[in-house]
């Protein structure tokens, strides 16, 4: 399992977490290359379908990350996202996905350091979990 390099898909909102990633970059902070960022306007637009698709297509973990409560640029998208994540945490474990593979975080635009720490921690945990069981046997 030493050689297992997880693939992590992170849906990040334009205004907060993406800006934090940008700040991390300009501050020359580094984080694991396992994480692929997908920029969305708001976490409130992340349909559960996107997350399911990411898992079925090979993601070992999915992160949704946006603004702190009160800071969402569309007022309450992050609260809607929290309900959807809560929902998926009920559905996906039924089919063998460990609940830890799906995470929601709130990382503000100025939290460059927190962004890199979160990415490191998530990569660590996913590496421990290993690949998603029996996904390779799926033919759809």
């Amino acid at each position: 399992m030493q050689s297992f390099e997880p693939l992590i898909i992170a849906f990040v909102c334009n205004w907060c977490t993406y800006t934090a990633a940008d700040l991390a970059g300009t501050s020359r902070l580094t984080y694991p290359s396992n994480v692929r960022l997908i920029r969305v306007m708001c976490t409130g637009m992340v349909d559960p379908q996107y997350i399911i698709k990411a898992f079925l297509e090979g993601a070992d973990a999915v992160l949704v990350s946006g603004c702190h409560p009160g800071d969402c640029h569309y007022i309450n998208g992050n609260f809607k996202a929290r309900r959807r994540i809560r929902l998926l945490k009920e559905i996906l474990p039924q089919f063998g996905f460990e609940a830890d593979r799906l995470q929601l975080t709130w990382i503000g635009a100025s939290d460059g350091i927190q962004f890199t720490q979160t990415m490191r921690e998530l990569t660590e945990r996913t590496r421990e979990l290993g690949p998603v069981a029996s996904r390779s046997q799926m033919v759809f």
């Binding site: 559960p48 809607k80 809560r86 039924q94 975080t105 709130w106 421990e128 046997q137 033919v139 759809f140």
Partner: protein, 379 residues
Amino acid sequence: MQTVTMEVKNEDVADAIRTLLGRILALDEIDAVMVPGRLPGSRSVMPLLIHDPDQLDNSDPLSPAFALNAAKQVCRLTRTATPKRVAAVLRPCEIRAFIELVKLKQGLREQVIIIGSDCPGAYPNKIFDALTREGDDSGADHGYVKRPSVDESSLSKACRACEHPMPTGADLAVCLWGVDTGREVMVDAQTDSGREILDRLGLKATPLPDQRAAAVETVVAERTRFRDSMFAETAAATDSLEKLDHYFAHCVNCYNCRTACPVCYCRQCVFETNLFDHDPLQYLSWTRRKGMIKMPTDTIFYHLTRLAHMSTACVGCGQCSNACPNDIDVMSLFRTVAHRTQAAFDYQAGRDVAERPPLSEFREHEFADTAGLHWRKEA
């Protein structure tokens, strides 16, 4: 008036209900009654929208046939306000589905007088077809039943697992359990509209019999037992992606299950749009990666997405399984997951029209451990 009694003659409970419907149809403010009935010259039992009281002879309010969940048909009749109202005879799961659709603004609750009854359950289409083909007398002859008599073991699995077989949310509830149906049925008003209607029918008031609560409890306990073992079996049969793949191995992506589902509320399903007309190279890249893929693709993606989109509204009617051309037990999986997703939001589909669907609202302070990195097991 709260509860009235209707006399049952010649053991024909269905006819007593027909008489009730006739009285309701005679009221000025009621334009028509929707009720299951036989299509003339056919064994088929479908919802009939009846205006002419003479046509009530075709109605079969206790039929064990359940060709479709009529909630969407009630929405067709109540999409906008009309001068008069309609009445509709619905199964408890049809009432629940209609309530979910009202929440989604697809029907107007106040436009319909809902008449429900204790639900003895229904046969899957195939069994009903076989029973009526043989023309035997097992309670399904020509789809016409005098008394609610069904063979429990041939009932649809959804009905055997249904722990809500009482018509909660109906304006008028026809009570069969705990009532001496050889002599009478009782009609209980559950809303103000229901009470107003009963006031005008000129029927004899009566209290509900004491033994009713215990009779209902017996049915509910039996079905809950069946349900729980169904949940356990289904969860074990799908607890990995590989097993889930096997569960849907016969699925041909026809999407009949979503067409039949009363609470799949989208006007157009994303899976039926050109978003899923992938570029040919996409399929080739998938098979290059995996070595082999099944065609058509996206089967598991479809079912998981449907679970995410509508399981909080699943009313357990079983029409998804009924509609599947390949006998996939869609209902068992959807109910198993729905039970968990509804519990997560302390929600019960169809329980109360005033409750909002869990994914259409939120609170500022809730699910504290859903946000922020939280590991189930400490590393």
